[in-house]
């Protein structure tokens, strides 16, 4: 077992690739009337080109704020410290504290983000074409006609029917699923190195959810874009992601390849999440009723415990866990956890691997 903080390259078998995003000690806190809220604490992770990384955790665990901080989109009362380096064609760009003019050259072109609520994420007063072409004219200096042409091509790419007519429509004329496709098309226009999708399917119907996820999955092969897929639903990451980062209380609890998350989870919180995730039975029914839930409450971010934030809810917690915060350590090349407990063997998982 290698106990090292050095994060190894996950792209096994490939030559050494440098990460497109390296995050070190990223911390986000908010000033509020009731004192500071530490939403994200000392996050360390890397995203490699072309990877699809799932970020899962309960609502409020800091998933969104981590990536909003990276995009420079925190609310006014929020502040990020630490480092987040975007590597574009061998050149490093420190995103934390970057001035707005330089940041705006990267946002929408080298990295882009789509959001949970497609109904409100597009400007209701501007035509789809205006909103899409704006990106191309801004970042690629395209003329109107060329931009329209490219926008049309991307609407086709995200499988929007009658794309040409859609260009001249306003958002309210499109369904939620269509709007999210427009958002995806818009975010890919400049072929960014990094696409962050924050719960892109949460607000959609189940059937539409599947289509949008499938689309993201397929697009990944067309572009070499690294995708971060934020979700509170472990089921969503299964079909789409290569790697998964589990967050709890504003920290990373576990990082692993997607198979290891499902079949060999090592953090008690990941195990709890899995046990409370509904699975489809062979007959298509799911058994919601007898699902165990993780006991206790999510941590209070204004008053985090001195030790592991999960300790109060953890069956394996020791005195040590109450006193010291476990750091994220890689115990093999692709698997890291922030937990003092001994490793778990696969068979101890409640409803095992199926």
């Amino acid at each position: 077992m290698t106990n090292t903080n050095q994060i190894p390259n996950s792209n096994i078998g490939k030559e050494v690739v440098s990460p497109v995003l390296s995050v070190k000690d990223l911390t986000v806190s908010f000033r509020t009337n009731d004192g500071p809220v530490s939403a994200v604490n000392n996050m360390n992770f890397e995203i490699y080109p072309g990877d699809t990384v799932g970020v899962v955790g309960e609502s409020g665990s800091g998933k969104s704020q981590t990536f909003l901080a990276i995009m420079g989109l925190l609310a006014q009362n929020g502040e990020a410290t630490g480092s987040a380096i975007l590597n574009i064609e061998g050149k490093d760009h420190e995103l934390v504290g970057m001035d707005l003019n330089r940041l705006n050259k990267l946002r929408g072109s080298k990295m882009s983000m789509i959001f949970q609520d497609p109904m409100t994420s597009l400007n209701p007063y501007l035509k789809i074409s205006t909103q899409m072409c704006e990106v191309l004219r801004l970042h690629q200096g395209m003329g109107k006609a060329a931009a329209q042409q490219k926008a049309l091509k991307f609407l086709d790419l995200v499988r929007i029917p009658e794309a040409k007519a859609r260009l001249n429509q306003y958002p309210h004329e499109l369904s939620g699923g269509m709007r999210q496709r427009v958002m995806i098309a818009m975010s890919l226009l400049c072929e960014p190195a990094l696409l962050i999708a924050d719960e892109p399917t949460t607000a959609l119907d189940v059937t539409v959810q599947a289509q949008v996820l499938r689309l993201l999955h397929d697009l990944k092969t067309d572009f070499n874009t690294a995708i971060v897929l934020i979700t509170h639903d472990l089921g969503v990451v299964a079909g789409v992601c290569d790697r998964v980062q589990v967050m709890y209380g504003g920290r990373l609890a576990e990082i692993a390849r997607v198979d290891d998350i499902f079949y060999n989870p090592q953090h008690p919180y990941t195990r709890g999440l899995l046990e409370s995730t509904p699975r489809l039975n062979a007959d298509g029914s799911s058994k919601h009723a007898d699902l165990p839930t993780i006991k206790g409450q999510p941590p209070n971010l204004q008053n985090l415990p001195a030790g592991c934030a999960f300790a109060p809810r953890c069956d394996h917690a020791t005195e040590h866990c109450q006193k010291e915060i476990p750091t994220l350590r890689y115990f093999n090349e692709n698997h890291a956890k922030a937990c003092f407990a001994e490793g778990f063997s696969q068979s101890t998982l409640l409803h095992g691997a199926d």
């Binding site: 959001f115 409100t120 994420s121 400007n123 990106v135 958002m183 975010s187």
Partner: protein, 324 residues
């Protein structure tokens, strides 16, 4: 949209009728008579005058006569459509002039005053409100909000005379030359004071509104999307935020026209401007029934038309309304 507009247009007619009815009886309910004066007229002359203007008839008959006489159709030789003329009758005070004459003479002045006030209110109000929103909770924000609180609460019949007093007494005679405090039409400088006093409450209100809606819009998801796209701050505000933030202001323009119209009555009197408002005040003081009625109906129609225009404007700006 078209249907909506037509229905609004239809509602305008009963609204105007209600305005006419209400003001007719309110004016008659006021004590006194157009021909009352310090020195009582001999009873025979008085009776003759009453008979001439129909004031000896029962009030209800006077009302039907008045409404019946308001709109006149005349058909000219060779013309297809009849010409419609509005006739507000003769002024009781200036017996050789019609009310229509005074309205025609005063309207260009009042219109100029009102339009300048609205334009100034929009420019300053929207500018100051946006600035306050973008610099929320800074001294700039507090200053704008402080001023606008004052502008809303202090009425123009207080602000006007106070400003006049300041210019006369605290400043000097040269100040009066720079910023004249009465009159109209001799120099553009005469417009400064009345336009400002008339616009002040509207500046204040529009600034508050703009600040509020701008803050709300800047928090919205589509502004976050614009930022995520790398849209520069200035473009983001102008292209993405301003339109949504200004829609409430557009719908406020209707009430603003009404407020400016009523405000102009006071302001014209204070600054001795020969607009409709001055004639209205003089008419009211002299119980010049037809003059008061004529101005009220004219203002009523003006406000109704302004509101119709605002509705159309709103529909043109908001694609969701336009489609409906």
């Amino acid at each position: 949209m078209v249907r909506y507009f037509l229905s609004r247009l239809l509602i305008a007619i009963p609204t105007l009728l209600a305005v006419i009815t209400l003001s007719f009886f309110l004016v008659r309910a006021a004590p006194g008579n157009p021909f009352d004066s310090e020195k009582p007229l001999p009873p025979t002359i008085r009776a003759n005058l009453d008979a001439k203007y129909g004031l000896d008839k029962p009030v209800f008959e006077q009302f039907t006569n008045y409404v019946g006489g308001l709109v006149k159709f005349s058909k000219e030789e060779g013309s297809w459509l009849p010409t419609v003329t509005l006739d507000f009758g003769p002024s009781y005070q200036y017996k050789d002039r019609t009310v229509t004459y005074f309205i025609q003479a005063g309207f260009p002045v009042s219109l100029k005053l009102g339009l300048m006030a609205i334009a100034i209110a929009l420019v300053i109000g929207v500018g100051a409100g946006s600035l306050a929103a973008l610099r929320q909770n800074t001294w700039m924000d507090y200053t704008v909000m402080g001023f606008s609180m004052t502008g809303i609460t202090v009425p123009n019949f207080v602000v006007g005379p106070i400003l006049q007093l300041i210019v006369i007494s605290i400043l000097s005679a040269t100040a009066v030359q720079l910023v004249p405090i009465t009159g109209w039409g001799d120099s553009w400088k005469q417009a400064i004071m009345p336009v400002f006093v008339l616009a002040l409450p509207q500046i204040a209100y529009i600034a508050r509104q703009t600040r509020g809606s701008m803050i709300e819009v800047l928090r919205s998801n589509y502004i976050r999307t614009a930022r995520a796209k790398g849209v520069p701050e200035r473009t983001m505000i102008i292209r993405h935020a301003l339109k949504a933030a200004l829609l409430p202001i557009v719908s406020y323009l209707g009430p603003a026209v009404a407020a400016i119209t009523t405000g102009s009555v006071v302001v014209e009197k204070i600054f001795r401007i020969p607009g409709i408002g001055t004639h209205f005040v003089n008419g009211a003081l002299n119980r010049d029934y037809t003059m008061v009625m004529g101005v009220v109906i004219f203002f009523g129609a003006l406000i109704i038309i302004a509101n119709l225009i605002v509705d159309v404007l709103y529909g043109l700006l908001d694609p969701r309304v336009r489609a409906a």
